[in-house]
Amino acid sequence: MLRFILSRIIQGFVVVFAVIVITFGLLKASPGGPFNKERQMQPHVRAMIEAYYGLDQPWWVQLWRHVKGYASFHFPESLKMPGRGVDEIIAQGFPVSAAIGIPALLIALALGIPLGAFAALKPNSIEDRASMLLAMAGLCMPSLVLGPLIAMIFGLKLRWFNVSGWYDADDWVLPAATLGIIYSAYIARLTRGGLRETLAQDFIRTARAKGASEGAVVFRHAFKLACLPVLNYLGPAAAGLLTGSLVTETVFQIPGLGQHFISAAVNRDDNLAMATAAFYATLIVGFNLLVDIVQAALNPKIGFKS
């Protein structure tokens, strides 16, 4: 098991550095540079700034500096926010995004799993159809639809919360609810699929045959396996939620990480763009590893194979 985890961690590092290299390549391949747009800048000033950030070096030297920097945790400076390291900027936005992402994830699980289980236990009943229609509606109300609607109802009409901004202690509620409802729709569909498939298997028939109660069949025998698809989905979902939904953070004007994903690219802050990409990739890799470990523990068929 230790070997499995170790080899996966090494693989994870490879992936993260591949992401850094690809992002670097994309940015370098694109026309223009970080300081091209500022026309009023005098050539020798620009040359000095570019020399300061090492942008005058050949690309392989720049790439090597980045890779070396990330490997030794000496992160580069932001190109457009002078004097601030990219790690500092991310460390500032991340807690805000997480303060929305963690409750959103909990809401998604608390809504989605019961809804999906309910549907799976009574296939083709009215309840099944109703809950699946609800989950389907969730799929079709993406955050750019649901977010403004929730803001309009609970912010503008009922005035329970601020419509937008990050001032009061309860400002996380509306964005977290938006994201939670949307993710719960996916989780409900996955739970239903997983549970229905599991309940049709032989070992469930055996459990029923030996006289186990319906509750024991579902919760002791079926649920562990039925959770696997949900678990699989949770890895990327958790990474996405923690790094902040671009749309939700835009709708509710949350100063989380999401804004940097856009502004770094728009402003050609190449260093920050690479850092956000690398951070996101690290979270995805980390959560996927976590998911794989839990999965291997739950399902003896998978086991710890590297």
Partner: protein, 297 residues
């Protein structure tokens, strides 16, 4: 002991083609038909928006400003006095077009990549699939944002960029299907009677890959439309004064305090379309044999 048998067609009456019976299974469900008919109408209305829509999508009538729905403007107007119903139809044309074109790009890349990986096998396959794994961990939103920001915000680039990130799952599905088919008896039989590689590929593989590809493509369309809407919502996609549903929803969200109908109608059209596309995609999956699509590891 192997005995020769006559071809089935000489013994039994011809059975309906698999595609025809799939179509019958598809239209047997009332929910599916109820999703298909309005969607077809909407698509037609969007395609022929120039003839159907009562106004010019960009014609401003500043005296009107933002007015709610009326007999002349069914869904009201925006602060510039532009007719919302007209803009929804024209915007829908852009959204649907991006959805179809980007899905097309994803299908071409995904099917090509998946076929090559599945047919090449062994090390090439492993390396190609490892690339896909790495790209899965890639923050694709960053990728699309960089592409659209840096290379300009042209329409053709938008669907190319979206298609370029949406092909990964398609490649996995096709590769899995090819791997499963490679060792099936009928492929071995075709090889045994001397069929060339190309013949096997076109005559025996492609028809069997088509089902999963159709299903997955139909489920990709709403995903792609959502991505386009998201980008346009963030100001990175379709640029005003051109409209797409994402642009209109963004306009609506900006004006929801004074003109809630500007949010309501575009959101309604967008969500209803996503709903119909998802229902049809699910029905297609059921109609085209769900068992065969599971991808092996």
């Amino acid at each position: 002991m192997v005995t020769a048998t006559l071809p089935a067609a000489d013994v039994h009456p011809p059975s309906p083609s698999p595609w025809l019976s799939a179509w019958r299974r598809l239209t047997a469900s009332r929910v599916t038909v109820a999703a298909m008919c309005p969607l077809a109408l909407l698509v037609l209305a969007c395609v022929f928006a120039d003839g159907i829509a009562p106004y010019d999508p960009n014609a401003q009538d500043l005296e009107l400003k933002a007015t709610p729905g009326s007999a002349a403007h069914w869904m009201g107007t925006d602060p510039l006095g532009r007719d919302l119903a007209t803009r929804i139809l024209h915007g829908g044309r852009v959204s649907l077009l991006v959805g179809v074109l980007a899905t097309g790009v994803a299908v071409v890349i995904g099917v090509g990549y998946g076929l090559v990986a599945g047919l090449a096998g062994s090390r090439t396959d492993a390396a190609m699939m490892r690339v896909v794994d790495i790209l899965y961990a890639f923050p694709f939103m960053t990728f699309v944002i960089i592409l659209t920001v840096v290379f300009g915000r042209q329409f053709w680039l938008l669907f190319l960029a979206i298609g370029a990130v949406e092909w990964l799952t398609m490649a996995r599905v096709v590769r899995g299907q090819v791997l499963a088919l490679r060792n099936q008896e009928f492929v071995t039989a075709a090889r045994a009677y001397g069929a060339r590689g190309w013949h096997v590929l076109i005559r025996h593989m492609l028809p069997n890959v088509a089902g999963p590809v159709i299903v997955y493509a139909s489920l990709t369309v709403p995903g792609v439309m959502l991505l386009e809407a998201t980008l346009s919502f963030l100001g990175l996609g379709i640029q005003p004064p051109d409209a797409s549903w994402g642009v209109l929803i963004r306009d609506g969200a900006d004006n929801m305090e004074t003109s809630p109908w500007m949010l309501f109608f575009p959101a309604l059209f967008f969500s209803a379309t996503l709903l119909a596309l998802n229902i049809i995609g699910d029905a297609l999956r059921d109609a085209l044999d769900p068992k065969s699509f599971q991808e092996p590891d």
